[in-house]
């Protein structure tokens, strides 16, 4: 077993508990909110719910294990933990929503961009699905822009200028809205010392990550996957529903989303 797999396995056992907990809290809060809204006029004072009572309420809620498993699979697939997803699939008997080899390939493409090898990434994505780049001019432009940035990083100025003329200028003609990005990138060439360049952020690793995520999102979309794991929206829902209930009652909140620890009720 690789170290990565051990970490991943830890992740998903942790997630089973974590997800379970979050969902139960959301369900309870929504129930209370619903109940409160029906008796709005009669209950002007803020209700106080002690931690013990809250925990006993939580214990009474049951969540279908299958739904929980789906959520975990969703997280593993979208975040690209292929080995963990495979293992999880075996243990839970749940079919992943996508051929697992595609996860690996998607991660592979993502890493290729992050290591600055744009041409190779383009080849790989075209092998995966030739329609992704053909129908997505914005993404294709950003990949070419990244390639230009890589040339500049490597100080290949002649290549950079030729590439800009040959590949990027026609994109600008087709889509005038690309011109601003193109100009900013070309501005990199104007400064000898990149630290002083106002557009130096383009040279940073975060720019590669940005391009990589955009491509990753496009691949996910082409496979009809969500762009973000459902966990993210679940956390947003938790935060929103806690805020809603806080207006009407005092109850043990979760403030730290990593540990998901229930804080004692404020009185």
């Amino acid at each position: 077993m690789t170290i990565e797999l051990i970490i991943n396995l830890f992740y998903y056992y942790y997630f089973i508990l974590y997800y379970h907990f979050l969902i139960i809290i959301i369900i309870i809060i929504i129930k209370i909110l619903y109940f409160k809204s029906r008796f709005k006029k009669k209950a002007p004072s803020k209700k106080v719910i002690a931690k013990e009572k809250w925990e006993s309420k939580l214990a009474n809620v049951s969540v279908d294990k299958k739904d929980l498993n789906k959520l975990i699979m969703n997280y593993l697939v979208i975040e690209g933990y292929k080995d963990a997803a495979e293992k999880f699939s075996q243990e839970s008997g749940l079919q992943p929503s996508v051929d697992l080899l595609y996860i690996e390939e998607r991660m592979n493409i993502r890493n290729t961009i992050q290591s600055g090898n744009i041409d190779e990434a383009i080849e790989k994505v075209n092998d995966l699905d030739p329609e992704i780049l053909d129908n997505n001019p914005v993404l294709y432009f950003h990949l070419q822009q990244q390639k230009l940035i890589e040339y500049i990083k490597q100080n290949k100025i002649v290549e950079a200028i030729e590439f800009a003329q040959e590949e990027l200028a026609p994109r600008g003609e087709e889509n005038p809205e690309f011109l601003e990005d193109l100009e900013q990138t070309m501005a990199l060439l104007a400064f000898d010392d990149n630290d002083k360049s106002p557009v130096k952020s383009l040279l940073e690793h975060s720019q590669r990550q940005k391009t990589a995520s955009e491509l990753n999102a496009a691949i996910l979309t082409s496979q009809c996957q969500d762009r973000d794991p459902r966990l993210l929206s679940l956390l947003k829902l938790l935060s929103w529903s806690q805020d809603q209930l806080n207006e009407k009652a005092s109850f043990p909140n979760i403030k730290n989303y990593v540990t998901a620890k229930l804080e004692p009720t404020n009185k």
């Binding site: 080899l101 595609y102 075209n126 092998d127 995966l128 997505n136 026609p170 009809c224």
Partner: protein, 756 residues
């Protein structure tokens, strides 16, 4: 400028023909990766004449499957959305080798070849008869059945079974156009295979469900039998029935899925099947969801893929098709605020080019999206306000009229046509004709569009003009003074029967209640000879309008009647009436008489009524035995307008004050007319009962009724709403049943195509 770079691409093309297989595959992969997403490179390689080489790779067995896959991918990518490239590839003969390639055992090769075919068929100019050859069609349809995963090879060689079904369904969408094609396609178990793909089994693969929905909607469009089959076919799904499953998919969170299931339900709904439950579901579920999909183009376009663009563009088109013929749906759409949503989309597409009538307009990628949005939204507006005055008022209040007018100058013919449809719908209202439409200056571009290079635009412009030239409209004068008549007359000679019909319709409306000098002007342009030809046109609709024109010409005064008789010539005019009436009686007795026959009889008799209002000579000319015999047979016709018109004929022939009345009465009595009229005394229609009483009085003793009749007489001759015909369609003031039917026919022909 790029001469130096071009060398390397030339070299790659040359390498394709090298003997070394490794070099070949390297070259073809290089070419593939440089053209995908890159419009300039596609053009460059096409200029290097790569197309025959790609086709050769597909056709010859010496090339490996991998080479063939790469070659298909390149063809598909070069064709992707580019009419010019598609044309060249098809001319070079790409279709047949691709179809032969589809017979492969290699799923990956099938997928890429089918994808390339789909791209080529994206253009409606690509002919696709060859796909219907048995050896090809059966093979293609069999791929709708998902096969098991085959987990071999690297990712490039791997295939996803659902993607094969997906591309196959997309291919079927492209070739299911005419009813014959639809019927041929469903012979191969296509319906169950497609229905299987939309079940919840494939919920993880929405793209295959979407492709299947699109194919289903294409085979259903306008094909009642297939729609029945689709609705009744068993479904292995918890929803049990197809319509329940489709309604479930309407609530999908993917806009594309929503729209496609709506399209499917719309096409089934509009196919002419009667299903009360379906209607209720369309009204309560489908329409509200569809209205929510009518969204203006979002300002943050950067991350949007072309797919959601296209669903934005299609939504108004489908909306327009769904509500086009159904007043309940139009009402629900209006109440659902569809008009203001559509108006918002149209306003969002407004640019500075609208202010200078598109003189220096250069389309870009994003403006193409706006163009399609505007076109489909204008169509939708035209549909929603086709029948109801109140909705027209709502449309005018959204202040989109100036954009409708400037759209008539748009270089894109679809937008010009859609703008004409809007004008046509709006001009059905007398109020807008007198005010807003006049102020908008719509008449200028409308007249110009009569000479449009596109025949469909001409046809719709002409249809809109029909309403604009009506008597009370100030725009009639403008048309007469700006060469409108010669333009319309030139369209009467068109080979296209729809255009001919609309042109003669417009002329007829101009002549309605017109001064003699206007009639003279028109007949001078048209010529009596041409009118005679039109009266005997091969299209019944055109005959009807031409006879209606004759009726309007021979109206109001003796001079006009005289001119008409002299113009056509006595023998010919007798011929017209004798033949048309006789033809009408013969065709009424057939098993399936069409309303068109009734309409021709009606116009013919009203023309007679008008001429019988003339002097003694005119009357005498047209009371031949044949004509009177025919009229006698029509007294008891099941159509009350015909019965009424015959009574009017006799009233005009027996006016007590007119010269020659006693002789004509004698003749009519000898032919048993009064006895026949007595049978109508208890007619179900009150108009008929009233008029028959009047005509029977004419046959009583002249001395008793003389004074009474002198009061009635002027009424007989000047009651224009009966004597000549006005076709302002679907307007409450002039709501005349038979005209409404005609109009629905007319409107039907311009309904947008949801495949579009």
């Amino acid at each position: 400028m790029l001469a130096g770079h071009e060398e390397k691409y030339k070299q790659a093309v040359n390498m394709l023909s090298s003997g070394n297989q490794e070099e070949q595959i390297k070259a073809i992969r290089f070419i593939k990766n440089s053209i995908i997403g890159n419009i300039t490179k596609k053009k460059l390689y096409m200029n290097l004449n790569i197309s025959p080489i790609l086709i050769k790779i597909l056709s010859e067995d010496t090339y490996s499957n991998d080479m063939k896959i790469q070659s298909s991918v390149i063809i598909g990518s070069i064709a992707n959305g580019n009419e010019k490239n598609i044309k060249k590839l098809v001319e070079d003969g790409a279709i047949k080798p691709l179809l032969d390639t589809c017979n492969t055992e290699d799923p990956k090769l099938y997928e890429s070849a089918a994808r390339a075919l789909k791209s080529l068929l994206e253009s409606d100019k690509t002919t696709h008869e060859i796909l219907f050859e048995e050896k090809y069609l059966e093979n293609i349809i069999s791929h709708l059945k998902p096969c098991d995963f085959n987990l071999y090879g690297n990712i490039a060689m791997r295939n996803n079974p659902y993607r094969i079904s997906e591309v196959t369904a997309q291919l079927i969408s492209k070739i299911s156009i005419s009813p014959e094609e639809q019927n041929k396609i469903v012979q191969h178990e296509t319906i169950p295979l497609l229905l299987n793909l939309i079940t919840s089994k494939y919920d993880f693969y929405p793209k295959v469900q979407e492709a299947a929905l699109e194919a289903l909607s294409c085979i259903c469009k306008g094909n009642k039998d297939i729609c029945m089959n689709v609705l009744e076919a068993p479904l292995e799904d918890e929803s049990k029935s197809t319509s329940k499953r489709l309604l479930k998919l309407v609530h999908s969170k993917r806009p594309e899925m929503k729209l496609l299931s709506i399209t499917c339900l719309t096409n089934i709904f509009r196919s002419g099947i009667t299903n009360e439950e379906l209607k209720k579901e369309v009204l309560l579920i489908v329409l509200p969801v569809l209205i929510k999909l009518l969204n203006p183009p979002s300002s943050s376009t950067s991350l949007q893929s072309t797919q959601s663009f296209s669903s934005q563009e299609r939504a108004p088109m489908i909306f327009s098709y769904l509500i086009a013929e159904d007043k309940d749906l139009q009402k629900a759409a209006m109440e659902g605020d569809a008009i203001s949503k559509l108006a918002n989309i149209i306003k969002m597409t407004k640019t500075s080019d609208d202010d200078n009538n598109y003189v220096n307009y250069i389309p870009t990628n994003s403006s193409l999206h706006n163009e399609r949005l505007r076109e489909s939204s204008l169509f939708a507006v035209a549909s929603i306000c086709a029948y109801e005055e109140e909705y027209r008022k709502n449309v005018i209040e959204t202040k989109i009229l100036p954009i409708i007018v400037s759209s008539m100058y748009h270089p894109n013919y679809g937008i010009r046509m859609a703008a004409c449809h809007c004008t046509k719908s709006l001009s059905r209202s007398v109020k807008t004709l007198r005010t807003s439409l006049v102020d908008s200056g719509v008449i200028n571009p409308l007249l110009k569009l009569l000479s449009d290079p596109d025949i469909q635009v001409q046809t719709v412009a002409c249809a809109a003009l029909c309403n604009v030239v009506l008597d009370f409209s100030p725009m009639k004068k403008f048309v007469l003074e700006n060469d409108g008549v010669p333009r319309l007359v030139s369209l009467v000679h068109s080979m296209d029967s729809n255009l001919r019909l609309n042109a003669i319709w417009a002329l007829k409306n101009i002549v309605f209640n017109a001064e003699s000098n206007i009639k003279d002007q028109i007949i001078k342009e048209l010529g009596w000879e041409q009118l005679y030809l039109l009266i005997n046109d091969e299209e019944l609709d055109i005959q009807e309008q031409a006879i209606n024109l004759l009726r309007n010409l021979a109206c109001t005064n003796e001079y006009d009647i005289e001119e008409t008789i002299n113009g056509l010539g006595e023998t010919r005019i007798i011929n017209i009436f004798e033949n048309k009436l006789q033809w009408g009686i013969q065709n009424t007795n057939m098993i399936n008489p069409t309303p068109k026959v009734d309409n021709i009889i009606i116009q013919t008799i009203w023309s007679l009524v008008n001429i019988y209002a003339g002097n003694e000579k005119h009357k005498k000319l047209l009371i031949t035995d044949n004509i009177l015999n025919s009229l006698f047979q029509l007294i008891t016709h099941k159509n009350e307008i015909i019965r009424l018109a015959v009574i009017w004929c006799c009233i005009n022939l027996t006016n007590p004050d007119d010269v020659g009345t006693p002789e004509r009465k004698k003749k009519l009595i000898s032919l048993q007319f009064p006895n026949a009229f007595k049978m109508l005394k208890n007619d179900p229609k009150i108009d008929v009962r009233n008029k028959v009483r009047e005509v029977l009085k004419h046959f009583e003793e002249p001395s008793e009724i003389k004074s009474y009749n002198s009061l009635l007489m002027p009424l007989n001759r000047s009651n224009e709403s009966l004597l000549s015909d006005l076709s302002l369609h679907n307007n409450n003031q002039y709501d005349d049943e038979d005209d409404e039917d005609e109009d629905e026919d007319l409107f039907d022909e311009y309904l947008p195509d949801s495949n579009y």
